[in-house]
């Protein structure tokens, strides 16, 4: 299964948006720290991996995996 560059880029922007909005809401005192942290715990890993995918996805067809001698 291959993901399109545009799809992973969208996932990245959604993840980054959740991180920024959660931090902003905490800063404005609208949500407590644990709620902000809970959102970041979920969004941060997704954001990071989708960022990596967004600069790699669709760039190549993949190598032939090593299957032993």
């Amino acid at each position: 299964m291959k993901m399109k560059k545009t799809t992973v880029a969208r996932i990245f922007w959604v993840g980054a948006g959740v991180c920024v909005i959660a931090s902003g809401l905490y800063f404005m005192g609208m949500i407590p720290l644990f709620a902000c942290a809970a959102l970041l715990v979920v969004a941060f890993p997704v954001t990071i991996l989708s960022l990596f995918f967004s600069w790699m996805a669709g760039e190549s067809g993949g190598d032939i995996p090593f299957i032993g001698y």
Partner: protein, 291 residues
Amino acid sequence: MTSRSSGTDMIAELVLATLFGLLLLGLHRKLIARIQRRPGPPVWQEILHMLKFSFKTTWIPKTASPVLFVGVVLIAIGIWTAAFYVLISGGSLLVILGIYMLHKIVEHGFGLSSGSPYGKYGGVRSVISAASEIPLFVSVAVIAVYTRSLDLSVIMQYQQVHGPLLIIAFPAACAMFLVILSKMPFGPFSIVEAKELVSGYKTEHFGIWRAGLEICNGLKTFVLLAVFLAVFIGLLSLPWLLVGMILMIVLLAFACAVTPMMSPFDSVTIQMLVTGLMLGYAAVVLMVVHP
């Protein structure tokens, strides 16, 4: 560490902690190499590793369970992100203890998800190496006897009044140091990463999955060292916290460089012996502090 962060700080602190943790791991490798009279990689090698893997072609092996294979990477970063926020909010040490245990389950998941025999053996060894967490339980019990709380903020306040627990409960600090040593790469208890298992539980996680694992390792290193300093030294300003972490890495690097990796059996035996000693110490502390 107990002050409330502003909104942007919440993300910036997380990213900087990850990068500093990776830098500490690089310093760890460099110091081990220099002690062993090798040139070693540059200090920023782990950051380069993370970036390098993020540019590698990535796929999911045919033998893997795709959901678990990808899910464990997300969970690994997620649990240490949670540990980081527990730390900076001065939350419960019990939650961090739970995350230390959870990390072993995640390592197990890494190994089993790929379907590779090397990964599976690495996963099994990570379960065996959970024995290294038992001295931690006793350390935490001793801390609770002294401070009557397991909240990091209360433990730090206690030390502002009574002095560092490093002096008051030195054996507990040694036991927790052993726990950190067991989680460092190239250490005597690093049986999950032994060379006969290729790369152990992470053998099949390459490319972007490995880059995610590197991020997890950076954050884990930062949290492990910062929690140790918070529990046994107390509240530190940021520069002193960073200096303390570098000093701890120097100590850990010396311990790793001069000690050969043990067999799984010896590793567990030593950790159980330490646990026995710590139980005796905890009983004495309990009788002296609360007669």
